[in-house]
Symmetry: C2
Subunit: 177 residues, 2 copies
DNA sequence: GTCTCCTAATTGACGCATCAATCAAAGTTG
DNA sequence: CAACTTTGATTGATGCGTCAATTAGGAGAC
């Protein structure tokens, strides 16, 4: 707010076509993730975040992973993962042990029950993604969708980096530079 | 789970290209909505859901709307809106009054403070959406993205309708039919 | 009128996410 | 080694969302 220097005086409103694009994208953005979660919780005993964790664990040897590494691979904050792991441990899906090398670290183990839940959930999840995302699109559309996603994701990083830098600019940046 | 009849024996795994598409899409799906929320809460006093409500209210005469209608326009559950409205009323962004026609109904009013917050937040939000979604894409890419989104959203409706119907099939459907 | 049924909206419990604060174990530097 | 900083992880407060249960008003059948 109140950044007149970087904010155009006259907002660049969306025209009609753009509004339609935005509407369609919004329905996808706010519709697909919840739908995936609903499918999982309906057809298995895993929520979408739980599934993500187990999928990450199952992707590494022995189903053991340092919690920090897992957070990094998932692109999540440590605390987010920590809260989720606590609930998952209570449900018996995973186990946490102190890491032998670094006493601060926690090793996350997939339990047999976690592995079973994963194996049970995976086919239905895959089939759902396939039937909603891949089956309705031609290969060419898939490639174009991918390109568009990548561009937008890049633009997000850029925008957030700019916002973060600006946050500093107001005060300390001169000192650093 | 355990629906062998509808689940192919061999899951239709993703090939390499598909995996890349899915990865890109996933980053968008789980990245853009939070980014929008961060931009809003950083540059204004509104969260993304609050912004949605006020945008809906500002879209109708006098900034007054029956709460049920608002839920419908937003595509939200009543209870979700109810929780949010309670918090927004506490913050002074909206007001609720009993509807004169139907004593069960609640009329939601935008307060002056709500309108001010909206006006303050809108340009930054618009600029963020523009710079992340529209600026990085050509017009043709935008059109193709829209087409892809619509197809996926349609497929979601279909998949959920199928799942819902199936839910009945197991028990009551014979009775109804 | 008074049952019954339907609908509008709220509530409470719970899972999920973020942020700021905390704590303990490593590292680092004198 | 002792003091300081950094890092791995947890915690608590708060907002957000869903689901199931509930309350209260309206509508129709009799």
């Amino acid at each position: 707010m109140t950044r007149p220097a970087e904010m155009p005086e006259e907002p660049r409103w969306l025209d009609e076509d753009e509004r339609d694009v935005w509407l369609a994208l919004r329905r996808l953005l706010w519709g697909l993730p919840p739908a995936i979660d609903r499918q999982l919780t309906r057809d298995s005993r895993l929520s979408a975040p739980e599934y993500s964790v187990l999928a990450t664990l199952s992707g590494c040897s022995d189903g053991v992973l340092r919690s920090g590494i897992a957070a990094q691979e998932l692109g999540w904050e440590r605390s987010r993962l920590s809260h989720l792991l606590r609930r998952m441990e209570a449900k018996g899906l995973i186990l946490r042990t102190c890491s032998p090398e670094d006493a601060r670290g926690q090793d996350v183990h997939m339990t047999d029950e976690g592995r079973a839940a994963m194996i049970e959930a995976a086919p239905g999840h895959l089939e759902f993604v396939r039937s909603t995302v891949f089956d309705p699109l031609t290969q060419e559309q898939q490639a174009l969708l991918r390109e568009a996603c990548e561009r937008i994701v890049d633009a997000i990083s850029q925008a957030e980096a700019a916002a973060g830098a600006e946050h500093l600019t107001d005060r300390e940046v001169r000192v650093e530079a």
